[in-house]
């Protein structure tokens, strides 16, 4: 098999068997970046020590220090996860040049598994956006059509996998930021249960919703990566002890007898007909594999976006207050006084979408409005969780679209924030409820852009989600298709 067609697990197995070295794999990936990244701008930073690291890992594999099935596999990290000594910019001018003196727990864990990080992946500024157009470091493009956005905010993480620049990546998902770009780029991605992966070292956007997760070519790869990073961390008070991921269990999941529910409310106004058709077809496929599929009502859906934008903006306005030009990050020149230092540094350091969410967050938390907005949103959150808890009494998994459309043209939504927010309708409620959910490739629209199906599980049912996705991928090949233009670049 050619390297470019390998999955992360296949490459890992080949490295373990000595069919290929970690250094050769790293050289291949650096070549891919060289070849494609000018076109797609997935990487903000390409690390200088990739080959040294690969060599080190190769020795470690020989010495038995790295036993993970992913050891030696080149990968990428979203640029909002701290990696010691490497610029962690969050796609913002505010953090251009910021080199943390510590690493995120998820980064440490994946390094312990023998990962060879190629560099840091582009994203919407501070993970606020669904298009990866708002980065200070430029617009990331969709490998299926460079005129289209890759989705966001983990656009770099999804596009890099789709373009074959890396074998898997780490992304983060606050309101759909792994799943929506995975859907737009035709890759598989999962947002784990809130608390499953440590958030320590993940630059916070909305702390109660942020979760790190993998993006890869298929569900099995995602399961392998998740298995390495899903560990309780005492540095994150909200992190939870779990059984972890049993890869064998995922690989041998049978969907026969699984009860799958589809919220009828997901198929309302705004959903693209072609996307709907792909999801219906996927449901039929799962049915033909022995699952029972039925529709049910979930009227709370329409309150998810308001609740999400209140909570996320509120937390963001607080989380982003630390960027003041004093300890790190952008500092405006010649401030007249302290207030001027704050205002100028933040006005020049943050882009428009970040400013908008800071202002919205300040509004919903300001005295006199807290009860009507923030408190109300926390009540809506409780109702959304309750609605899912009820649904999971009857279903093993919930199925639906990830996004109402396929990837939009670059610039199409940038000037209309509300329209962009509405695109998050299916994803944000999962973050509010803290549930795990994946995007799994399930078809293409008429323009040849990929469509992802949303597989949502109950708390800590990652194995079940990825198991069903893996079973689906055994009988479909949507996830194996590649943008034909890659061969022409």
């Amino acid at each position: 098999m050619e390297l470019k067609d390998m999955t992360a697990l296949e490459l890992g197995a080949a490295i373990r068997k000595g069919e290929i070295s970690a250094v050769e794999a790293a050289e291949f990936s650096l070549g891919q970046i060289e070849r494609y990244d000018k076109q797609f701008s997935c990487f903000v930073t390409v690390q200088e020590d990739v080959l040294q690291r690969a060599e080190e890992v190769q020795k470690g594999i020989a010495a038995g220090a790295f036993t993970s099935p992913l050891a030696g596999v080149p990968m990428g990290i979203k640029d909002n996860m701290c990696q010691k000594g490497i610029q962690t910019s969050c796609g913002s001018r505010m953090l251009a040049g910021f080199k943390p003196t510590y690493s995120a727990t998820a980064v440490e864990e994946i390094m312990k598994a023998g990962a060879v990080p190629l560099g840091k992946l582009n994203m919407d500024e501070f993970a606020m956006g669904s298009t990866s157009e708002t980065s200070f470091f430029g617009v990331t493009r969709n490998p299926w059509n460079a005129e289209c956005v890759p989705g966001g905010s983990s656009g770099g993480s999804a596009a890099a996998v789709a373009a074959g620049e890396c074998f898997y990546s780490l992304g983060s998902d606050t309101g759909g930021s792994i799943r929506q770009p995975a859907s737009f780029c035709g890759v598989t991605g999962i947002k784990p249960t809130y608390g499953a992966v440590s958030r320590f070292g993940l630059v916070a956007y909305a702390s109660s919703l942020d979760q790190i997760g993998p993006l890869a070519r298929n569900a099995a790869d995602c399961a392998a990566v998740l298995g390495e990073i899903m560990k309780q961390d005492r540095r994150d008070n909200t992190s939870v002890a779990t059984k972890g991921i049993d890869l064998q269990k995922v690989l041998h999941t049978d969907v026969k007898g699984m009860r799958i529910g589809i919220p009828a409310d997901f198929f309302g106004e705004g959903l693209d007909k072609e996307v709907a058709a792909c999801i219906e077809a996927a449901a039929k496929q799962l049915e033909s594999m022995g699952a029972t599929v039925e529709k049910f009502d979930m009227p709370i859906v329409k309150y998810a976006i308001p609740a999400y934008y209140i909570i996320a903006s509120a937390e963001a306005s607080s989380n982003l207050s630390r960027y003041d030009g004093i300890k790190y990050g952008y500092r405006a020149e010649h401030p007249a006084d302290l207030l001027d230092l704050y205002t100028k540094s933040r006005s020049e350091g943050f882009g428009m979408e970040v400013k908008r969410r800071i202002m919205l967050g300040c509004f919903v938390l300001s005295s006199g409005y807290y009860d009507a907005y923030y408190r109300k949103a926390l009540q809506a959150k409780a109702l959304i969780k309750a609605a899912f808890d009820r649904a999971f009494e009857r279903y093993d998994l919930i199925l639906g679209p990830v996004a109402p459309t396929t990837a939009l043209k670059i610039g199409e939504n940038l000037s209309d924030p509300l329209k962009m927010y509405l695109g998050d309708i299916y994803t944000v409620m999962i973050n509010l409820a803290g549930l795990p959910a994946a995007s799994v490739p399930c078809g293409f629209d008429g323009k040849g852009m990929p469509v992802g199906m949303h597989l949502i599980g109950h708390y800590f049912d990652e194995e079940k989600i990825l198991g069903a996705a893996h079973a689906y991928q055994q009988v479909t090949d949507w996830h194996k298709r590649k943008p034909t233009q890659l061969d022409r670049i």
Binding site: K99, I310, G329, D337, L378, L383, K385
Partner: protein, 95 residues
Amino acid sequence: MVITDELVTYLEALGRIKLPEESRAKAQSDLQEILQYIDTLSELDTEGIEPMSHALPLTNVMREDEVQPSAPTEEVLANAPVKKDGYFLVPRSFE
């Protein structure tokens, strides 16, 4: 809820940001539109519902009171744009 120019100014002050003059009007109308949409939440009946901060009912995760070495001062100040004698430096901020 109407987003007035005064409210925009107030929110700028709260967030310590200043919108560029040319995008102020657009920002105001965008915020208005977003808020109008968000206000649909008021239709939702939440009577008697306990606000939920954390979806999972975790409690009492705590750390033992044991000292670990602090970071070297060079690391603490490594990313500081301006520093002096081991301190961060800011414009005069005493009344």
